[in-house]
Amino acid sequence: MDFVNAIVQVLDSTIRLSVPLLLACLAGLFSERSGIFDIGLEGKMLVGAFAGAAAASVFHSAFIGLGMAILISVAFAMVHGFASITHRGNQIVSGVAINFIAAGSTIILGQAWFQQGGRTPALQPGERFESITAYVISNFLSTYSFSTASFADFLASIRGLILYLPALLIDALARIPGFGPIFAELVLGHSILVYFAFAMVPFTWWVLFRTRFGLRLRAVGENPAAVDTAGISVAWLRYRALICTGILTGVAGAYLSMVQNGGFVKDMTAGKGYIALAALIFAKWKPVNAMFACLLFGFLDAASIRLQGSPLPIVGKVSAQFMQALPYVLTVVLLAGFIGKAIPPRAGGVPYVKER
């Protein structure tokens, strides 16, 4: 039972740790598929995390926080676009610039506004996104099932009627011995942003391969001249791709500061943007692969935390640093072409200039 418990916990934290990677990875997918290399994922995630936690704490609303995270993250994506699309600057250089500006400004503004050493105030319930089970149980079952008076009020509201039955169902499922707790933990024990992240995988695939926008997006990453002569604005198309990138990095940041952590801490992305980039290459720029790559990298992270100091059956003691470095080592091995070849979008990295 202890073993099962351990596995459930590792899988659970795998999901939690994969989510920011997955969101950032899909964000990078939109950008890179449109022909813009994006090493600025890290910075955009970071400003998203800061803006989200700061706004949530000031306005006491998780959703305002999320909105702000997205807004600011998109704004940074637009700066990247302004430099690398409008002014045809080096995409990597502008990405690096974004990361620096993000790292510095989140700390400076955080300190100036909240005076907590670059942190934002700890988020209160309601200011952060809670797990579905916690939300349902705290808001409905615990409150209402013990008070008949308010229970009647509750039933009167349609919203309650819709939510109460699933809440009961969840509660009942969670009580099934053995399976119940695992189910509650693994499947339902997450915030809405987690479900959003995983829903984005098929959605991204659908957008990319089943819509007009996706067709044009892929085309502009392969041959922008073909898009230009077909009467479509290359710049606007790429800007739209970057808006998608900004939205997703914003959500990724919000997840870090408003779900995983109850507030913003300086440099809280801690290289996740780069791991996401590695996952994107690992996934060969495909959405479903991206999910598996992020789950793998998330699992390595979770396992390294779990295994800190404790020996494994066959291999013996594995150092945490080794596990942490593994995603990077795997990506280098992949890039070296030892396990399949990762071929990036053909027009990636090159600003589009009309030929003379």
């Binding site: 089943r210 892929r218 009467g231």
Partner: protein, 510 residues
């Protein structure tokens, strides 16, 4: 005269200090095939790009079907029924034919419906114009001729009434070109207007109804095709009688300097580009290799000069073999007296961002003359560069000037000076006069003949048949990676054209 499909009135366009189009007037009649000829750089493509909305004119007026039109983007052009087939195809290589055709003209936000609609429409177009293409084929797997067909279908799918083709036959064999011309005639019969941009007079004479000639950004004349001659057009294009033949004496061929035997070369995709080729070049002769671009000439040159790995075969330089395993050092070959003027001077033969003097040692930077230990001998390099500038009349004569600021002809002279002044035994030259102004062409041809007269072996590859015929003592024709024939310089254009089309081989295969 029929009603005008397009009228261009007083079009001007400059790029920086370069005036690409000056005060151009042009009228194209509906339902005709109208040719526009001119040398490289005459402003033909710029003019058509303005018509297609890719560039905007600085001043002037465009009328389509008699109505003033404002064409700011390709979209505007498409809406007015103008379609364009670019010189470099505007296709997404890893998309299917259908995906390429609907790109930018999707009927629906969802692909499924757009593609379904396009599929039936495409079938209709294919039937109507005899343009067979598998709609689900991936572009990069199609031969160039079919890719071009996709470009035409793309324009027709968008409802083009006026079709502009920019140098459409550059990558085609004569047979494919003839097929294209049949398609264009059919389009004309259906009432479409076709504008054909080319610098090949043969094509103009073969297919157009009217022809306009451009020179240095201006429109110099418009003629009815059946009332003009190749000679007249050629004169209009260059502005004076062309020196079609360079004066040269009889060749005195000596010993074999370069011997190629059973050479086979593949490109990066693994496609065989040079297929079991054998030939010799002797001292004191110029051997010309003719052929349509893309038939393995580039790969042949690269293999001989040690840049590209060969699969099998041998190349002997002065009786000693060249390492063809890809480990060959082009520097070592230079030491052995093999000089190479590459086809692409912008990216291969020169570093445009370098100063002129730095380019004058490219490839010879190992030469002790230019070095002091591991250091560059700047004084020696500068003196050498000044010397070459003088001898080859390179203008402007400033060895410190960035190479990008020289004209095409002068850039080519920089390369030639560097290679010829090393006094090599064998000189191989790819496209000696591509993008070079007329004055420099004559200079370059004379230099090459002078090399021959000094007893050097010269191998010239060119897609310009005129150039091959006027320079060569022997002409080899390449088709699909093989040498399909050898002729003397007296061979007619028609004879060589048939060889270049691989006609004999195709008949044998059929």
């Amino acid at each position: 005269m029929a009603q005008a499909a397009i009228e261009l009135i007083g079009i001007n366009k400059s790029f920086g200090a370069v005036r690409a189009n000056r005060d151009i007037n042009l009228e194209i009649a509906r339902g005709t095939i109208h040719g526009i000829v001119g040398e490289n750089g005459a402003g033909k493509s710029t003019l058509m790009s303005i018509l297609y909305g890719f560039y905007q004119a600085d001043s002037g007026e465009i009328r389509v079907g008699g109505n003033p039109a404002s064409i700011k983007t390709p979209n505007d052009a498409i809406a007015l029924g103008i379609g364009m087939v670019h010189q470099h195809f505007m296709l997404v290589d890893n998309f299917s034919v259908l995906e390429n055709i609907i790109l930018g003209a999707e009927s629906d936000a969802l692909l499924k419906r757009s593609i379904a609609k396009a599929r039936s429409e495409l079938e209709r177009l294919e039937r109507e114009y005899g343009l067979d293409v598998d709609p689900d084929a991936i572009i990069e797997e199609l031969p160039v001729g079919l890719q071009q067909r996709v470009e035409i279908l793309k324009a027709l799918y968008r409802g083009a009434e006026i079709l502009i083709l920019d140098e459409p036959t550059g990558v085609l064999t004569p047979a494919e070109a003839d097929h294209l011309f049949r398609i264009l005639k059919q389009l004309k019969d259906q009432g479409k207007t076709v504008v054909l941009i080319t610098h090949k007079l043969r094509e103009i004479m073969a297919i157009t109804d009217t022809v306009s000639v451009m020179r240095q950004g201006t429109m110099v004349a418009t003629r009815e095709t059946r009332k003009t001659t190749v000679e007249e057009l050629a004169e209009l294009m260059v502005g004076r009688r062309v020196l079609l033949r360079v004066e040269k004496g009889e060749a005195e061929a000596g010993a074999v300097k370069l011997a190629v035997k059973n050479l086979t070369v593949k490109d990066s995709r693994g496609v065989t580009m040079v297929d079991d080729i054998s030939f010799d070049v002797r001292g004191g002769e110029i051997v010309g290799i003719a052929g349509v671009a893309g038939n393995g000439q580039s790969e042949l040159l690269e293999a001989i000069s040690g840049i590209r790995r060969a699969v099998s075969g041998s190349v002997m330089l002065d009786g000693k073999p060249i390492d063809l395993t890809g480990a060959a050092d082009p520097g070592e070959l230079r030491d052995r007296g093999l000089a190479h003027v590459p086809e692409d001077r912008h990216h291969v033969g020169l570093v445009l961002a370098f100063e002129e003097n730095e380019n004058s040692i490219l490839g010879y930077h190992d030469d002790p003359r230019y070095l002091r230990g591991p250091f560059l001998n700047v004084d020696a390099i500068m003196a050498d560069a000044r010397d070459k500038i003088e001898k080859y009349d390179i203008r402007p004569g400033n060895p410190r000037l960035k190479t990008a600021n020289f004209s095409g002809g002068n850039q080519q002279k920089i390369v030639l000076a560097r290679e010829i002044e090393q006094d090599p035994g064998v000189l191989i030259v790819g496209q000696p006069t591509r993008g070079v102004d007329v004055g420099a062409i004559e200079f370059i041809h004379k230099r090459l003949i002078a090399m021959r007269d000094q007893g050097k072996a010269v191998l010239v590859v060119s897609v310009e048949l005129d150039e091959i015929r006027s320079l060569s003592d022997r002409i080899l024709v390449m088709f699909a990676g093989r040498i399909v024939g050898e002729r003397g310089p007296e061979a007619t254009e028609g004879e060589l054209g048939l060889l270049m089309a691989g006609v004999e081989r195709q008949e044998a295969a059929a």
